[in-house]
Amino acid sequence: MAKMNLLQAVNHALQTAMEADEKVLVFGEDVGHFGGVFRATSHLQEKFGKTRCFNTPLTEQGIVGFANGLASQGHKPVAEIQFADYIYPAFDQIVNETAKARYRSGGQFECGNLTIRAPYGGGIAGGHYHSQSPESFFTHVPGIRVVIPRGPYQAKGLLLSAINSPDPVIFFEPKRLYRAAVGEVPEESYQLPLGIAEVLREGTDISLVAWGAQVEVIVKAADMAAEKGISCEVIDLQSLLPWDLETVATSVTKTGRLLINHEAPVTSGFGAEIAASIQQECFLSLEAPISRVCGLDTPFPLAHEKLYMPDHLKTFDAIVACVNY
């Protein structure tokens, strides 16, 4: 065990994967000698050489296209998109290629070995283009997995699973926790299961679901609620596609109430899918409408960032409203 922040945990996972399998390659803009603008790939070029960890030209569609080719050839590319806000030029390569390669060829060719990493989310005064949470777009793309860790331990374990998964994974990293989230992380290799949510805290009155950086927000809201005598069950979804409906449904069947929190704009955010599925699954258990505490339906603002964010106060108020419904 060692104390690591989320960034170090990512770096450690990459190093572990590269040591274990020479097929693992790490690349993207500035990831080589420099180690990435956040330093997630620090020292990897030094350790594994320029052929295995390298800078690419500045083209996200090229990075993912290149990675798709490498994956289908039998390598295990871990491609970095410098900010999730810049993943859209690669959208076609992801949606039409990465995701469909296996299906369209009847399993002859596939990009299952691919992992795409990207820092996402607000809270760093990044404005429109260094704050986005685009995960919901990717949850509408059959064929890929979408995974988001909430802390260092999860980051390492889930990233190693992503790299070793036979399915392509989009791995979003909560950048505002890169240095802020610190915890104990095993130094050896370990994997956390994909597609499985984690119940962080059991409770009886309402289920709270979030992922990534927003998990700490719902935990904080749950603490506030506890002071008011409201018992919250806190769930970190961890995987958004395929997602762990069963864990959430079991929880809601018990508590009768559900609140979903995400940073992305509320309309067609992944909260919509969770709400739609859970109202179907737990219709007779629900004692109040499923509540979504999310970003506003606007681009991510700079000056009003703090007002935009679905923070613990908004969450707490919504918990109270839900319980008092």
Binding site: P57, F66, G74, P77, P89, N96, R104, P142
Partner: protein
């Protein structure tokens, strides 16, 4: 740490004179004249009689397949088809210069390469009729062939996506220590996509042993090349990326063979990409959904019909004394029968089972897909007559 940014005495000029004539200096490699006669100065590559005849057969077979399937589409037996006609020289001869461990990534008009690699009439038909023997399990439209055993990547409709993929694939081949390349075909229209730019530049910088082979056939559906780019082709772009570049008469199979052979040699020896621009012409309609009379003249088509690459190769064989008219006719009529029979056989084969619908989305179908399949199967049980279930083991 790099420290080589200071230009050592750059070439200077002191007059404001934009470079504007860079485009017209690119010559076109030609080895056989329209009568199949080698140009005097041409140094032909080594090519055995067997291989020369195999190239001819592959070209002719490709054309026969095209004719057969265009007719089949008119008869309503198949929903869609897309012909290679007019470009067989560029395709077959370039594929003939590869080795079997080279990966081929094609756009969609390169069935000649698959023929060269040994895809059988029946394999073509199974794909074209989307039956359960199609390795793609009938999931894609006709002409989206793919065969892992032949190192021919399954075709994908979105244009140019295979170009950066080819760079990555070739990089992987290099790292795996294989003396192999990736041959990536695409049209001059596809070369306008951002993926072209990304792929070629990455291949150049990351030294990927790939051959990028652009079929400049004059049209992207109805859009003529002059509304696609300025100048006479895309070879000039290769130079822009610092990629070794060849422009070739695409209707001269010998030139295409020689160019690709050399390109492969360089790509492996120097670990670098090469761009080949094949100047050719799409003689057929874009696809069976298209009618070119709306956008180009018969006269223009006629000019190119006279430059038929298949005929040119036949003339060459004749000059070598390698062409046996009778044997060829017999082979050709056998092939026609084989094709017809393969079609008849393939079109009655059932489609893949319903359960295959959720396979290959993920490595293993996750819970939600299993649930969706169960629901679908229950639905089909409730309505046994509502759907035409020509599915394996279900509808029969």
């Amino acid at each position: 740490m790099q420290d080589n940014r200071q230009p050592a005495a750059p070439l200077l000029t002191h007059k404001v004179e934009p470079i504007s004539n860079g485009l017209h200096a690119i010559p076109m490699l030609a080895m056989l004249d329209p009568q199949g006669k080698p140009y005097e100065q041409a140094e032909l590559p080594e090519l055995s009689q067997d291989k020369a005849i195999k190239i001819h057969h592959a070209m002719v077979f490709t054309r026969l397949l095209d004719e057969r399937m265009i007719a089949a589409q008119r008869q309503g037996r198949v929903s869609f088809y897309l012909a290679c006609t007019g470009e067989e020289g560029a395709i077959v001869a370039s594929a003939a210069a590869t080795e079997s461990l080279d990966m081929i990534m094609s756009q969609y008009r390169e069935q000649g390469a698959l023929v060269w690699r040994g895809y059988t009439p029946r394999q073509f038909m199974d794909q074209l009729f989307s039956n359960h023997l199609d390795p793609n399990k009938g999931r894609q439209m006709p002409i989206h062939y793919g065969d892992k055993a032949l190192n021919f990547m399954t075709i994908s409709s979105p244009l140019a996506t295979q170009i950066p993929q080819a760079a990555g694939y070739a990089y992987g081949q290099k790292l795996s220590g294989q003396a192999a390349i990736t041959l990536c075909y695409f049209g001059e229209g596809a070369a306008s996509e951002g993926d072209f730019h990304a792929g070629l530049n990455m291949a150049a910088v990351l030294k990927c042993p790939a051959i990028f082979l652009c079929r400049n056939n004059g049209y992207a559906i109805s859009t003529p090349a002059e509304e696609q780019f300025v100048g006479d082709g895309i070879a000039s772009r290769g130079i822009g990326y610092g990629i070794k570049t060849l422009r070739v008469d695409g209707n001269d199979a010998m030139a295409m063979y020689a160019a690709t052979l050399k390109a492969r040699e360089i790509a492996i020896a120097e670990s670098c990409p090469i761009l080949i621009e094949a100047m050719t012409y799409r003689l057929a309609a874009h696809s069976t959904s298209d009618d070119p009379s709306g956008y180009r003249s018969q006269k223009e088509e006629q000019i190119w019909r006279e430059r038929d690459p298949v005929l040119r190769w036949q003339y060459y064989l004749q000059q070598c004394g390698w062409f046996d008219q009778d044997a060829h006719h017999q082979w050709q009529s056998e092939m026609k029968n084989t094709l017809l029979q393969a079609m008849k056989d393939a079109e009655i084969v059932p489609v893949a089972p319903v359960s295959s619908m959720i396979e290959d989305v993920y490595h293993t179908p996750p819970w939600h897909l299993q649930r969706q399949l169960t629901q679908l199967q229950q639905h089909l049980e409730r309505h046994p007559d509502a759907y035409d279930l020509r599915c394996l083991g279900e509808g029969e």
